[in-house]
């Protein structure tokens, strides 16, 4: 046979039955797809928080030295937690606020049902009215509001003021003015004793 017999035309090679849909080929494709998905999952899941991060879910805080009018900030799961020991005036101001004045009427308290209203009793620690425990991250875009330190500007409502875009929280940590949509979130926590709070 000579070398240049027929000009190369791939369609001429397809003189086999071209469109037979063999079940076995579909099965092969299916298995390949399942295999690919099974391989993909661990590659994605490894980015989720690992077991050691999940285990640091609990932090204990000693509050024995936090006097009325004082506040401390501790870390929990990488986030700042505001713990304020409120004065009587601060408590009264929070309780006197009608719920209708609040842009966000929900308690946002992980220790209570989702629909609990934002009354001060649902924001402060159970049976320990002076104590407020909140995640110190502004619900607008994630800055840390000012108000923990004695000299901080606390905003018009005496609570916390976010310097980034001007959100203002009251003495129960509820949003009153500014772009933040929600009250400061309250994490799961409980009082392990009179002087110790267990968060998470």
């Amino acid at each position: 046979m000579a070398s240049h017999e027929t000009p190369f035309n791939p369609s001429l090679m397809n003189d086999e039955e071209p469109t037979r849909r063999d079940v076995i080929l579909i099965a092969a494709g299916g298995f390949a797809a399942v295999g690919a998905a099974a391989v993909l999952w661990p590659l994605l899941d490894q980015m989720n928080p690992d077991a050691s991060a999940l285990s640091l879910a609990t932090t204990e805080v000693d509050i024995s030295h936090v006097e009325a009018g004082q506040a401390i900030t501790v870390m929990w799961r990488g986030k700042p937690i505001f713990i304020r020991h409120r004065t009587d005036q601060e408590i009264a101001k929070a309780k006197d606020t009608p719920l209708d004045d609040l842009p966000d009427r929900l308690a946002r308290n992980a220790n209570l049902p989702d629909d609990a209203p934002a009354a001060d009793a649902n924001r402060a620690a159970k049976d320990r009215e002076p104590w407020l425990v909140m995640i110190g991250i502004c619900t607008h875009l994630g800055c840390i509001p000012k108000g923990q330190a004695v000299g901080d500007y606390k905003g018009e409502f005496g609570g916390w003021f976010c310097p980034c875009h001007g959100s203002q929280y009251d003495t129960a940590g509820r949003i009153r003015k500014g772009p933040a949509p929600q009250n400061l979130a309250i994490p799961p926590y409980n009082f392990a004793s009179d002087t110790k709070i267990k968060i998470g």
Binding site: M1, T6, F8, A28, A32, P42, D45, M47
Partner: protein, 436 residues
């Protein structure tokens, strides 16, 4: 690379894209309709397997790098953190570690295939050279990757191998030491060394990927070799790559993955060394420093030579000599199938590599050293004596008239006896498309 392409865009979007960046056309031409010899056997599936393994190593490597800490204090513990706490970390780490071994297994088989069937002969010399270059990059990458665990074997392997460069002191006093300190970033292997090994280990696989692209490009100019070693002559000799070789490569790949998975899940530490589960200790050398199995033959050659500098030269030469194979082999016939004398020497070479591998794990003393030297001599003799000499004196067996004839027999192929009496000389550089 102008040649007639039969790609027809299937949709308006395809036409639009084809006019701007013809990626679909290239994929179609090179991996769908590409005319491939019909008689490729399973030794030809390892190219696809290697591409897959490169993908596996890069994918697992990138996610491992999200958790690994490249400091001398943190490295070992970060690997254990991956094994214990990171979701699926144990699977990713073992896949990456066993994957390196599987990568080399496939690479060595692929290389021996090339040697046996004369795939390095004209016009595929550059293809072969690119392959050797990939092998060298793989060796460097694997060496650096193993060091990252920062176990005893990691640390001391780096110390020993980087110290080899100090042999240059025998050539120019002080040069070797300066070079080694430059590599270390200090006066001994330490944190700076680890950090730069990590950086380069992340980089090299992408260099490999680049050379792989060139390798496949260089292949597609003349087209694939085949077990007979004779050139494609007519359309009957070839089949489109898809579906014939996509499915065959796919089957071989799944078989390979069966072996890979069996090792990952049931014997992940079989090819490793227990000493690498001991954190690196600069003050204590392990009793026997051994590299991973895929380096053992070269290690045996290094230790066979009593002189430090000459041993290093022998080690380097044992790899770089591969570059010259297209010119060392004088045979007019490509495939060892038709080379009755050379065949024996070839298999002796395979045995030599395996025995050198075994010897590389033994202490270099007594009979181990004696045999190490004997087989090292044969290793180099195969390239420097056998390849040039046997090609000249050997009478090859009669080649088939065509690839089709080798598959279907002379009558079905329509060959006459007369037309197949002349052995096929290696073809001058002609593109596959020109022939067809």
């Amino acid at each position: 690379m102008a040649h007639p392409s039969s790609y027809q865009p299937g949709s308006r979007f395809e036409s639009w894209l084809d006019a701007r960046l013809p990626v679909v056309r290239v994929m179609y031409d090179q991996f769908m309709v590409f005319p491939t010899p019909r008689n490729l056997n399973y030794w030809w599936t390892f190219g696809g397997i290697l591409t897959f393994m490169l993908g596996v190593q890069i994918a697992t490597g990138i996610v491992l790098a999200m958790h690994y800490v490249p400091t001398s204090d943190g490295a070992f513990n970060s690997v254990e953190h991956i094994m214990r706490d990171v979701n699926w970390g144990w699977l990713l780490r073992y896949t990456h570690a066993v994957g390196a071994s599987m990568f080399f297994l496939a690479a060595y088989i692929h290389t021996f295939r090339g040697l046996y069937y004369g795939s390095y002969k004209a016009p595929r010399e550059v293809l072969w050279i690119l392959g050797v270059l990939i092998l060298m990059l793989m060796i460097a990458t694997a060496f650096m990757g193993y060091s990252l665990v920062w176990g005893q074997m990691s640390f001391w392997a780096v110390t020993v191998i980087t110290n080899l460069f100090s042999s240059l002191d025998a050539v120019i006093p002080g040069l070797g030491t300066k070079l080694v300190e430059w590599i270390w970033g200090g006066f001994a292997v330490g944190g700076p060394t680890l950090n730069r090994l990590y950086s380069l280990h992340y980089l090299f696989p992408f260099l490999i990927a680049g050379v792989v692209v060139l390798h496949i490009w260089a292949l597609h100019i003349p087209g694939n070799n085949n077990p007979t070693g004779i050139d494609v002559k007519t359309t009957r000799d070839v089949v489109p790559f898809h579906p014939y070789y996509t499915i065959k490569d796919g089957f071989a790949l799944v078989a390979f993955i069966v072996l890979f998975a069996a090792m990952v899940f049931y014997a992940p530490n079989l090819l490793g060394h227990p000493d690498n589960y001991i954190p690196a200790n600069p003050l204590q050398t392990p009793p026997h420093i051994v590299p991973e199995w895929y380096f053992l033959p070269f290690y045996a050659i290094l230790r066979a030579i009593p002189n430090k500098l000459l041993g290093v030269i022998a080690l380097m030469s044992s790899i770089t000599i591969l570059f010259f194979v297209p010119w060392l082999d004088t045979s007019k016939v490509r495939s060892t199938r038709y080379r009755p004398i050379y065949k024996w020497f070839f298999w002796a070479f395979v045995v030599t590599c395996i025995v050198l591998g075994y010897l590389g794990a033994q202490p270099p003393e007594g009979w181990y050293l004696v045999f190490g030297r004997i087989f090292t001599v044969y290793y180099f003799a195969f390239f420097l004596l056998v390849m040039p000499a046997v090609g000249l004196i050997e009478r090859p067996r009669a080649l088939p008239g065509s690839i089709t004839e080798s598959v279907l027999g002379p009558e079905a192929a329509g060959q006459t006896v007369a037309s197949r009496s002349v052995p096929n000389p290696p073809a001058p550089a002609r593109k596959r498309e020109e022939v067809l």
